[in-house]
Amino acid sequence: MKLIIAIVKPFKLDELREALSGLGIQGLTVSEVKGFGRQKGQTEIYRGAEYTVNFLPKIKIEVAVNDAIVERAVDIIRTTANTGKIGDGKIFVLDLVQVVRIRTGETGETAL
């Protein structure tokens, strides 16, 4: 099993959720993060003091999937989150040693 971590633009969240459901993925975990990268933010000005925001609001999606669908999941995220504009974000894939569903105690792929 793999843990896919995707950093994407916030307004893409709903689309992504639906796209992944299409793959039969029934759960995912989301958190608000700030991203630093090539994309530059707008400037805030307060009484003459200018702050260019280097850290832009992004959404981090964490989703555990079984090896069979990792590829497709990554593709779907890439195509759905893509706007072609700088700042679209990244997808990271990590190995999962174990998964447990707390409610039932199921482990492994059945726990997803």
Binding site: Y46, G48, A49
Partner: protein, 459 residues
């Protein structure tokens, strides 16, 4: 100029002495003349001048105005300031305003009021109202310099001024001042700086009033006074840790906009209430206030729009306060369009002072107490001398040929700056020696909310 400073320091000395000795015996020089001049220029309708008798309508309006002016400090100013600081200092900033409200109430009741609003001499009042002793319900126990409102009402109205003035100062050294030091400083400042200056300008016997300096609702007493105390304060205390490098953007401008709004509304009590009467004078004062504020918002907004490409909410709020400050001394003396012009001028000048000049000079007046209240107050004081209209406040300004008034106004400004600046500086140093003015770097980084007050905003 030189001479002026000499004169000022002389006054400083004597007033200082007077204050410290707290000499209660009324001085020989009882000043018929002074009183006359003053009565002419103080804010209550010509109509009312004739008889001296309690007027319940005037009383109703001043009671209302008192509530409006308290609203300016809590929650008005507290929110205006809290919205501009970082989240970790929101409670502490509001607490400074709230704590000052309490301490100023007691100090004013115990001694401040007596020093300011009793005849005394030209430089300081007497102690006849120490602990408000002698203030009664008698129908004829009226407020000094008013012919129609009870002393209790006039005293309360003035108390709200004695509350907001010190509260204005705290913006200059936000995020780094010890709460204990603040309480000590404010107590002394009210007695040694605020009370005397209020006496000079508003007591019929005060020497600035006698000289004919115009300050309808407190441009000098309140705003220039707070402005200079703030400027000196932020210089003595030093810059915020990380100033210029860290991101110190305002935590919540919604708070700042609510605060500015409440200041605007409450200012109707501040300015129109200073007519101490519910007649045309109050109406004119309110109208001039509104025109000035509207103008100042637009002026600051468009100036910023041009210079920075975007009109900001903080800019609009700042413009409003700048306009309100500038019209304060002028309200009861100028016509509505004179008010509009004063507002436009204040908006542009304070924008420049707070967003350009300050950065050039590099001092850290965190919330621009000097840039808005100091500078705005000076603009207003001077322009009052320009736009004053005889038919409205009984005194002509430069536009009506009385160019001497502008000099008089400048004199008032200068004397206030000197006395306020010098004594405030001394007081900061004394308090610093006693308890220290500034929190530790650690406390400053943690935020004053948790380190000074043991509290945190959780959402």
């Amino acid at each position: 100029m030189k001479q002026m400073i000499r004169k000022a320091s002389h006054l400083a000395a004597s007033a200082g002495a007077a204050t410290l000795l707290l000499c209660s015996q009324a001085w020989a020089e009882t000043t018929e003349t002074v009183t006359e001049i003053v009565t002419e220029v103080t804010g209550s309708d010509a109509a009312a001048q004739a008889v001296v008798a309690l007027d319940k309508a005037d009383t109703a309006w001043v009671l209302t105005s008192t509530a409006l002016v308290l609203l300016m400090t809590i929650p008005g100013l507290a929110l205006f300031y809290a919205g501009m600081v970082r989240k970790k200092n929101i409670i502490a900033t509001m607490m400074q305003c709230f704590g000052i409200t309490a301490i100023a109430t007691v100090v004013w009741g115990v001694i401040g009021y007596s020093l300011a609003f009793t005849p005394g001499n030209a430089y300081i009042g007497d102690l006849s109202r120490l602990f408000l002793n002698g203030l009664s319900m008698a129908e004829d126990n009226l407020f000094l310099g008013s012919t129609t409102i009870p002393e209790s009402v006039g005293m309360m109205f003035q108390m709200t001024f004695a509350i907001i003035t010190p509260a204005l100062i705290v913006g200059a050294f936000a995020d780094r001042f010890k709460f204990s030091a603040l309480l000590l400083f404010i107590t002394a400042w009210l007695i040694l700086v605020y009370a005397p200056i209020a006496h000079w300008v508003w007591a019929p016997t005060g020497f600035l009033a006698g000289a004919g300096v115009l300050d309808f609702a407190g441009g000098t007493v309140v705003h220039i006074n707070a402005g200079i105390a703030g400027l000196v304060g932020c210089l003595v205390v030093g810059k915020r840790k990380g100033y210029g490098t860290d991101n110190m953007s305002p935590s919540n401008l919604a708070y700042a906009l609510i605060g500015a709004s409440l200041l605007w509304v409450g200012w109707f009590g501040f300015n129109a209430g200073s007519a101490l009467s519910a007649g045309p004078r109050a109406g004119m004062a309110m109208l001039a206030t509104q025109m000035a504020t509207g103008g100042a918002v637009l002026a600051w907004m468009f100036a910023e729009w041009i210079v920075r490409k975007k009109p900001s909410g903080l800019g609009a709020a700042s413009g409003a306060v700048a306009g309100l400050v500038a019209i304060t001394p002028a309200a009861g003396f100028v016509a509505p369009m004179g008010g509009l012009f004063i507002g436009l001028a204040a908006g542009v000048i304070c924008f420049w002072a707070s967003t350009i000049l300050k950065h050039k000079l590099g001092y850290d007046d965190s919330l621009d107490v000097w840039g808005v209240h100091g500078v705005g107050g000076i603009v207003g004081a001077i322009l009052t001398g320009v736009f004053a209209v005889k038919d409205i406040g009984g005194v002509s300004g430069m536009l009506e040929g009385n160019s001497g008034q502008v000099l008089l106004q400048a004199e008032g400004v200068l004397i206030t700056l000197v006395w306020g600046g010098v004594v405030s500086f001394i007081l900061y140093k004394v308090v610093d020696a006693l308890v220290g003015l500034r929190v530790t770097p650690e406390e400053e980084r943690e935020g004053l909310d948790i380190s000074l007050h043991g509290e945190v905003i959780h959402n």
